[in-house]
């Protein structure tokens, strides 16, 4: 007897995007550059596929954490340059001028 999961899997074969196809266009979906018709197909798949819904939530969270760690994790840029580095750069400019 075919359960719900089996029915969902069989529906995925009937002119709808499969999970592998979803994978190929995730970024287009997330940055909203997808044509509306394709977007509708993408969303239809998500309605039926909890694995893809789960994956996309984790995928989005990974992107967000990556962006935030560099804006927060390294702290704001220092107010000053290490003085030794400033001097090294100025000296290098002096050599380049000669």
């Amino acid at each position: 007897m075919v359960g719900v999961a089996g029915m969902v899997r069989s529906l995925k074969w009937h002119g709808m995007l499969n999970c592998r196809q979803i994978e190929e266009v995730i970024d287009d979906y997330l940055d909203e550059s997808m044509a509306w018709r394709r977007r509708a197909l993408f969303r239809s798949h998500l309605l039926m596929c909890r694995e893809c819904r789960s994956y996309i939530e984790a995928y989005k969270r990974a992107i967000a954490l990556g962006k935030r760690v560099f804006s927060d994790g390294d702290g704001p840029p220092p107010e000053d340059m290490p003085e030794a580095l400033v001097k090294a750069i100025l000296a290098a400019r002096g050599r380049a001028e000669k």
């Binding site: 694995e51 994956y55 939530e57 954490l65 990556g66 760690v69 400033v86």
Partner: protein, 207 residues
């Protein structure tokens, strides 16, 4: 209030124009001013790409010397800060290419899996905690930084330029000398790999 803001913007533009003229004339004090004003942010950028303080400082030095040599060609279509930002990114990438390549984990090991019916094989995640709440935890920041460091270099570079430095796909392609299609593929694979490496942070629920 709007008038004062416009005046402030105009003053900044005038000051930058004067600074550029002085730089083009080879004025040493102007160069030092640029180093002190833009250097800290440029150093942060170099550190993000290189993850080595010595290499970051070297590439910053290279960047300023390149900028000094090329100031005559700077047409002012972007701000001086944006121009310098690009120069330090390029200098850091050059440094990266010059490094001995280190053993890298294959990105294939970090890609999502599908069964024979092209259906995704994926745990059910329950992600209720906010990004803000997660990122204040030191172990989270350490894992995220370590995970980005683990990415193979060609994927890590695209991720950094696109997601962190906020270059467009076209700008990444031009900077790296690859086509836009390759940028999109590498970005997606980098993000997918990062997600895999960050799975220890996500709560798995039964299903």
């Amino acid at each position: 209030m709007i008038g004062r803001q416009s005046q402030s913007v105009a003053d900044t533009a005038t000051a930058e124009t004067q600074l550029l003229e002085d730089l083009r004339a080879g004025d040493a004090a102007a160069f030092e001013q640029v180093v002190r004003r833009y250097g800290p942010r440029m150093l942060s950028v170099a550190r993000r790409i290189l993850r080595s303080e010595d290499d970051a400082r070297d590439s910053l030095q290279d960047a300023f010397i390149q900028a000094y040599g090329a100031i005559g060609k700077f047409e002012g279509r972007s701000s001086l800060g944006s121009w310098l930002h690009r120069i330090v990114v390029n200098a850091a990438l050059m440094k990266l290419r010059g490094r001995k390549s280190r053993p890298e984990q294959s990105i294939e090991d970090l890609m999502p899996t599908f069964d024979a019916s092209n259906c995704r094989v994926e745990p059910m995640w329950q992600i209720e905690e906010s990004v803000e709440s997660m990122i204040v935890r030191r172990e989270v920041r350490e894992l995220v930084l370590a995970s980005i460091d683990k990415l193979p270099e060609s994927y890590r570079t695209v991720l950094l330029l696109r997601d962190i430095e906020e270059y467009t796909t076209t700008e990444v392609a031009e900077t790296l000398g690859i086509n836009s299609g390759a940028v999109k593929v590498r970005l997606h694979r980098a993000r997918a790999a990062l997600k895999k490496l960050l799975e220890p942070l996500f709560e798995q629920v039964g299903g």
